[in-house]
């Protein structure tokens, strides 16, 4: 199973505002990409569009496996993990409950992920009592439980301490070594070799052309 991501001529809008235009890139197994750019340039919107959560304004996002293009609904359910900058956790449920649910819903087993992310001592706590960094570690567990090719990470390192940044970086490298792919929106460069994609604001002409003035 070798999946590849191809992005051709992608343009994204938020409201009437053109964020990204004419974006081309391809991502192959084992490749990681850092997404940089100033605040509001569209990093999160790009990640959410790649995940299929919102539709592109123009252009094409294709997931190709062995020469055949995959259905985007299937890709979302089987090949993609999304880690948003909001941790998707229910505040009144315990860490163990959240892990058990995610394992059943997305696939996999919690045990290895708990050990890898050092969550043992947190299992009985309700997630509302966790610090931002602990929440992020808990969110990362699903990346490890259900094996999926493409990780879309939105500022994954932001709330973590130095130790756990290094830990997450190792997990990301292990994922790439296994033939996975990842795209991470970051402000500080990742501590390993990645391709860089720097997003810039579209020019005034591009804006006007998109709106059709």
């Amino acid at each position: 199973m070798v999946m590849e991501l191809q992005v051709e001529g992608l343009a994204l809008r938020k409201g009437y505002n053109l964020l990204i235009s004419n974006l081309y890139f391809a991502l192959k197994p084992g490749e990681g990409m850092s997404l940089t750019g100033e605040n509001g340039v569209g990093k999160t919107t790009l990640l959410r569009t790649l995940a299929g959560f919102s539709a592109p304004f123009a252009g094409r996002i294709a997931f190709v496996e062995n020469g055949a293009q995959l259905e985007s609904e299937d890709v979302r359910a089987r090949n993609i993990h999304v880690l948003g900058h909001h941790d998707a956790l229910s505040p009144s449920r315990t860490v163990a409950q959240e892990l058990a649910f995610q394992a059943k819903f997305l696939g996999g087993e919690p045990a290895a992920a708990i050990a890898a992310l050092r969550l043992e001592t947190l299992l009985d706590l309700e997630t509302r009592y966790l610090s931002a960094g602990q929440k992020r570690r808990l969110s990362c567990a699903r990346l490890l439980m259900a094996k999926r090719e493409l990780w879309l990470l939105d500022e994954p390192m932001a709330p973590l301490d130095a130790d756990h940044r290094a830990l997450l970086a190792r997990l990301m490298q292990a994922h790439l070594a296994e033939g996975g792919m990842l795209i991470a929106a970051v402000h500080d460069p990742l501590p390993f070799q990645t391709r860089d994609l720097r997003l810039t604001r579209p020019t005034r002409e591009q804006q006007e052309a998109a709106i059709g003035v």
Partner: protein, 229 residues
């Protein structure tokens, strides 16, 4: 890379279990709706006077009205909590389509609140003076009615997701669709009191529940997709 994808039924059961747990424990759970229901019903004899003849005649109709309002009460937050917690980011990456996720949420809402309100319905009717032999039919019809209420209410909750003060908007959207079950349910009770056949009204109640079961997932899926974009 070896992928593990859970089956549709496994994921559906996991979601149903999670949501049922949440609807039973979070923010008072069904107690809020039950308290509202019982308080409304307790106010009826206080406002109309304790005349047994009057009360037993209108008990069934009023019970249905209160059931509809109590069902509506807890539906406002059906999708909102997961929306605010960004849980939909995880739910959308599972094997279930959005419409099915919404349907399961409505079903857990029904199991956690609607069923309990339905169990109370015959009791409340008897307290208000309806004949005891109506209780089985009252329970059956309340179960069917509250299922319709949960599904139609889920549609309203999906449509008003992301709007401020969505509760009032939702009530306006949903209440017109609550009219048929109220009519059939109260009609069924009246038919029983006048010794005519209740089956026709029960069939309509069942048909309405099936109609809601078939159509609302499509509507909820579309509404959620647009709200989550």
């Amino acid at each position: 890379m070896s992928r593990v994808t859970p089956s549709l039924t496994q994921a559906a059961f996991a979601l149903l279990k999670r949501d049922l747990g949440l609807s039973l424990t979070r923010s008072g759970g069904p107690l809020l709706a039950i308290g509202f229901y019982l308080t409304l019903m307790a106010m009826i004899p206080l406002s109309l006077g304790p005349d047994q003849a009057v009360l037993s005649r209108i008990a069934a109709g009023l019970t249905w009205l209160c059931l509809a309002l109590s069902s509506l009460l807890s539906l406002e937050r059906l999708f909102e909590r997961d929306y605010e917690d960004a849980m939909f980011d995880v739910l959308r990456l599972g094997p279930l389509p959005l419409g099915l996720i919404a349907l399961l949420k409505c079903l857990s809402q029904w199991l956690g609140t609607g069923v309990i309100l339905s169990l109370l319905t015959p009791v409340v009717m008897i307290i208000l003076g309806a004949p005891v032999d109506m209780s089985l039919m009252a329970l059956t019809s309340a179960l069917l009615g509250s299922l319709s209420f949960a599904l139609i209410g889920g549609m309203g909750a999906a449509l008003s997701l992301g709007t401020r003060k969505g509760g009032v908007l939702m009530a306006l959207l949903v209440l017109p669709f609550y009219v048929p079950p109220v009519i059939f349910g109260a009609g069924l009770m009246q038919a029983m009191q006048t010794q005519s056949s209740p089956w026709q009204a029960l069939a309509f109640l069942g048909a309405y529940a099936l109609f809601a079961l078939a159509l609302t997932p499509v509507a909820m899926g579309a509404a959620l997709r647009s709200a989550l974009n």
